[in-house]
């Protein structure tokens, strides 16, 4: 279960580079546990620390700027979260405390992983993102209204599919949602099994 998401106000941390891949979000060398925790220190490790594997903060990297230390929102570039499908990238973001990422586009697997873990993927055009970045002010994300606004009243709407929205709003787990349809699933599989028995052989032959 993830924390429900309704509205969030936070200063967004700008990390506007295109094609930030999951290996940059969390290098595989930082994925030392089998679980979903113990990953926050590895978040953006390649950029965040002065040397590979080290823990000395690189003062030039935005995450180490005290101004952004309470940021809950990342402002990113195109194709955010591309590369390996590792969900650790999202777990690391969650554990560190991020709740939303605003970019012009996401890699689809990454966006799906975000939703399942309570992070809201917001797609805005690059112009809006530039305006938010230059403003340097907190933004408010309103999920029910699908709206991002800055203090002066400027606002943008963003798209999100119904199911993702429902899951984020209630902090719902997709498995619970699907298990409600267990009877339908069983009926479909039974019919399919008559049609294509070879698909269901599995390891049992």
């Amino acid at each position: 279960m993830a924390n429900p998401f309704t509205t969030l106000t936070s200063l967004p941390m700008p990390l506007i580079r295109d094609n930030i891949d999951t290996d940059q979000i969390i290098p595989s060398r930082e994925m030392k546990s089998t679980g979903k925790t113990g990953l926050a220190d590895g978040l953006f490790a390649g950029w965040r620390y002065t040397e590979i594997g080290g823990r000395d903060p690189d003062p030039d990297f935005v995450m180490n700027d005290p101004f952004f230390s309470d940021s809950r929102i990342i402002l990113g570039g195109e194709n955010f979260g591309c590369g390996s499908s590792r969900e650790h990238a999202v777990w690391a973001l969650v554990e560190y405390g991020f709740r939303a990422v605003i970019t012009p586009s996401f890699a689809p697997i990454f966006a799906g992983n975000c939703v399942r873990n309570g992070i809201l993927p917001v797609v805005l055009d690059s112009e809006a993102i530039a305006t938010i970045e230059q403003g340097g002010l907190p933004v408010t994300i309103d999920l029910p209204e699908q709206k991002v606004s800055i203090n002066e009243g400027q606002s943008w709407t963003f798209p999100i599919d119904e199911e993702a929205k429902a899951m984020l709003l209630d902090g719902l787990d997709a498995i619970d949602l699907s298990l409600k349809m267990a009877d339908d699933i069983a009926a479909w599989q039974k019919a399919d099994q008559t049609r294509r028995p070879w698909i269901y052989l599995g390891a049992e032959q």
Binding site: D23, R29, K32, I52, S85, G112, Q189, L201, A203
Partner: protein
Amino acid sequence: MNSLAEAGRKVADPARVFAVTDHIVDTRSGRTDQTLMPGGQAFITETRAAAKAAGITLFDVNDPDQGIVHVISPELGIVLPGCTLIAPDSHTCTQGAFGALAWGIGSSEAEHAMATGTLRLAKPKSMRVTFTGKLAEGTTAKDMILMLLANHGAAGGKGHAVEFAGEAITALDMEGRMTLCNMATEFSAMSGFIAPDDKTYTYLKGRRYAPGGALWDDAVASWQSLRSDRQASFAQEINIDASKVAPMVSWGTNPGQTIAIDAAVPSEADDRSLEYIALKKGQPIKGVPIDAAFIGSCTNSRLNDLRRASALLKGKKIADGMKAICVPGSTRVKREAEAEGIDLIFKNAGFEWRESGCSMCFYAGGESFAAGSRVISTTNRNFESRQGPNVKTHIASPETVVASAIAGAIADPREIANG
């Protein structure tokens, strides 16, 4: 599996779930559960316990069927035409080569699939990439997919399920088809697939988990209908003349940053990538000195890859000071290659010959190439530090990797083959 159990949930049908140790296992000979990867050993023992508790078939560290998931699943007949197959790894699309819808998912989706036998999925857009004509001598499936990436970029297939079709695809053996579909994810496609045909059935027949007896005939009859209608329309179509495909090599830090072996780094090359890879605009890619060579990964580590590479390597030596490694994609590939004496060709030439696994395709704090070194590699990703700290990766076909290992610099395999 553990987080399912923690949530009090069960695997719906354990017989249809398989597990293997591939990413994390050590590939040096005489291996045990110990690995150089931080946390690797704990991961292996936890996986073993969880698989046992859930009743899931596990191909363990020294199992004769162990190997990289996308190599062993076809070898064991787990993937079948028309099935939906998922794994928490982005190169699952490899198995689309069998006419399956196979794609990579995140761990939460894997949990969802195990708990419910289903996944929630938005329908992808459709794309067809048609390779007409015939491949020229010295070029391979790897060069075809790299050419697609070079021409249409690493985001070219975004949001699409891509059918690969045409004369040059039909002409590929199953291993070549797997190489090609493997990199559909580098093209940002949801998956890639190829309509099944006689080569597909011949490959699968008699494999351990493939249907047998009368069921086999029913299955083949049904699989024959798995092809696009003649008048099918696609959201996007791309045509490539396979006869124009040259041996390709990546110059940058994403797989779309790729050129033909006799081309130069483009004048519009991105400065960030160039700075990392330490090349200049206009510099010919051929002749760039390399420190290491890697043959392996779910892209190019199957028996035919090793056969073709060893045919070029036979009787030759790699350049002085070069670190060269060959990692068979599965324990079966390793066995079969050894039976043909392929291991000796690699070893005599100066290559290390490893146990199967993902090995140095990726760096996770374990074994890696020397920091900052330049590697030519049959893998699929040339991202920053993918194969070791600040390692510069050039991706290419096994033939190009062998030619380069011999030359000590990026080289054209057609020149070796001819003399």
